[in-house]
Amino acid sequence: MKQGNDKIKALEAAFPRTIPILAGFMFLGIAYGIRMSVAGFHPLYSVLMSIIIFGGSIQFVAVPMLLAPFAPLEALFMSLMINARHLFYGISMLEKYSIPSKKRLYLIFGMIDETFSINCTAEPPAGVDRGWFYFFVTLLDHSYWVIATAIGAIFGTAVSFNTKGLDFVMTALFVVIFTEQVLTEKDHLSSILGIALPLVCLLIFGGGNFLIPSMIALLAALTVAKKPIEKRGAVL
């Protein structure tokens, strides 16, 4: 019975944290389902993609590529490029996700922007099992995404209220998580670099190409700052 209680407690702790993601995914997932249907794909394809790829940007980018002639290497390369930021999530979560068993595989599989931002910053309440908390955040986000995709793919065209701007909910969530982080951390250097360098790269390289240069710039800056940061004994 204890095992069951642990799970319920973790689910109860995880659900409220995922509410903004529920709102965002209902919008984005439905939009994706509609996009796929309009492109002529059976809802099963949209749902399959949301289950096994589980990545917003790449799934949208994939739509025209699925309509184009067969180019498997392009598909692979595009996924690597667009999702390269996940490498940083992985490095950031090496320690937090070093939990035993099969749960870990699922956590890594489902490490999307939104799940990462919650699991990386949220402290589960005392008495709540960390592994199950991370697991339920991931599972809830994954479910929202798949369910919303199905709704969009099956009934999409019937939705008619004006949702323009609703996708901003994700930006809002990340801004809040960032603000919360700045309010709680002792050393702001990493946060400042994280805003400043990508912003400079965005201005130089433009929206389509700024992510890789940003990652390189961040790595370089943190490498240079390693000695001074550790000297100050900064604790984030």
């Binding site: 692979l76 996924s79 701007g165």
Partner: protein
């Protein structure tokens, strides 16, 4: 594309995506000591990555034309101020999103 080609392409999108998620965990497995530099990155990178995610969200905003990014700027400023004041995640996210929707639907049309 044939059905088989379509499914192969979809599988490759999944494989590519999963490579980016699993690679760090494969290179630095649990049972081996992670290089000090990577541990250092694991500690200080997260804060920077959340910042990068914020910039990633506004990457397609065109500051040269249209609303010049004003709806985003105003909404983000309100979210930050509201969050510093009340520290309630859902309130800040909710107010910020509704404000943005009102701005793009009624003010900066």
């Amino acid at each position: 594309m044939t059905k088989a080609q379509l499914l192969i392409t979809i599988a490759l999108f999944a494989v590519g995506t999963m490579m980016t998620r699993f690679l760090p965990f494969i290179i630095f497995p649990k049972n081996r000591t992670t290089p000090k530099f990577v541990t250092y990155l694991g500690k200080y990178l997260p804060a920077a990555v959340i910042g990068m995610l914020v910039i990633y969200c506004i990457k397609d905003v065109d500051i040269m034309s249209g609303a010049h990014g004003l709806p985003e700027l105003i909404s983000i400023a309100v979210i930050v101020l509201l969050h510093v004041w009340r520290r309630q995640v859902l309130l800040s996210v909710g107010v910020g999103t509704v404000l943005y929707m009102l701005l793009v639907q009624f003010v900066f049309v």
